[in-house]
Subunit: 187 residues, 3 copies
């Protein structure tokens, strides 16, 4: 009798334990990244004179703008298409490990804000192969978070957060972004 | 002997129970939102005369279009960049809780359809801080669903569905969208 | 005494077993699709003469481009908006099961690469109703993977990978893409 009571207790305990673990699992997803990396990309905007070095170009402009100078009113309405080298450090001339490809647009009249849609495309024998795709609003604060909305290849089905930081700006032609990528879904 | 047989039975039961729970868990994700909210945003398109109030501007147009009037053929080919106030009710003059930032484009000649890529950017002390990013086709039916593809800050790693409803239209200058956001992945 | 020791062993075993299963579950998500389908879409670019048949139009161009001919330098800077029929086989004249709607842009000067943001919009009584939304870099290799970043309706909350293959190209006016969609998150 004592033995069966003990059984019942164990069974109950285990059931409770198992159900509580299951119940907790969904809300308590860990906020620790399963993969993290810091990369840089370098954007040289076409200004009518730098066709050879430019890595990006204005392709959309508002009624009051044109395509060789970013528009007035904080560039509101400019769409820029880019294909920028990605490096492991902040040196434009380091060997690129991939290309940042996509677009950004300036979306606010009274101060700078942007919206970004782009991918990191890696095709490197000694780094990674595959893509990460990003989208989000960029308030151009010191640091700002956008979403990693998908991945392929080495980053199959990845999701996460990318923290952007403007690392350097030179006039209206060159800027460099530091991207701290934290993936929270890895397959 | 009876005791050990009982043990085996319990162990077997528990194993079966545990494995069946595990197997079921993946297909049976609940379709109840973990967070829901209704918001409005207000779009005032630049038409050459309303520079001060406009919150959006045509920045891409097809060969037959221009940038102060939406193009013929159901605006096919127009890209509009916006930075619109978000309010908790349908009043344009209510205190905004954030900004809707991004773009939409009209993609069909024979009737109205659009495609949207944008974020809700919240930076409010008494509402939320963070972003939600949306993408999807907008057939401009009475209600239509687009995807919530990512989030940051208070909406860390969120995913879900947003149901859009055009709440008001005034000529070709102002429209208001009601957005019913249902998140199904919350962290 | 023997009985209680046995109990303890069982309990321990079960606990270990349960915790190891839990720990394993996150990394070992299965890479087998929960849904797979192959579709085709057909893009006829407006060239100034084919207004009636065209399904897409150039709406953004760099300073050196225009909107009836894709720009030099590998079309770098062109943004194309499209609303293309989707078919179950590779015949342009088959009954469409939906529309591919969104945009692509050419983002590289020295060879062809593109970036895509679009949705498959299905509104068919005998096929599916709902949307799938895609984004990603397209290096225009023989096959290339982009991300399925969201879904609605029959594809509620879907995520996955789409493998693109250019199935036919006719001059600079018509191309056909084969899209092999593999969903790894189904709800």
């Amino acid at each position: 009798m004592a033995a069966t009571r003990l059984f019942s207790t164990i069974v109950l305990c285990l059931l409770l334990l198992s159900s509580s673990t299951t119940a907790k699992k969904i809300p308590s997803r860990r906020r620790e990244p399963c993969k993290q990396m810091v990369l840089y990309f370098h954007d040289i905007i076409y200004n009518g004179k730098n066709a050879k070095n430019a890595t990006s170009a204005i392709v959309g402009a508002p009624a009051w703008g044109n395509k060789t100078i970013l528009a007035g009113q904080n560039h509101f309405g400019n769409i820029v298409v880019f294909d920028d080298p990605i490096t492991l450090d902040n040196n434009l001339h380091s060997n690129p490990v991939g290309r940042a490809q996509g677009f950004y647009l300036y979306d606010r009249k009274d101060y700078f804000t942007a919206w970004l849609g782009f991918s990191f495309f890696f095709n490197s024998t000694n780094w990674h192969r595959g893509t990460l795709t990003f989208a989000g609003a960029d308030p151009l604060n010191k640091t700002r978070d956008i979403s990693v909305i998908g991945g392929t290849g080495d980053f199959f089905m990845a999701r996460g957060i990318a923290t952007l930081m403007t690392d350097a700006v030179e006039g209206e032609v060159y800027f460099r972004l530091q991207v701290d990528i934290k993936l929270y879904e890895c397959w």
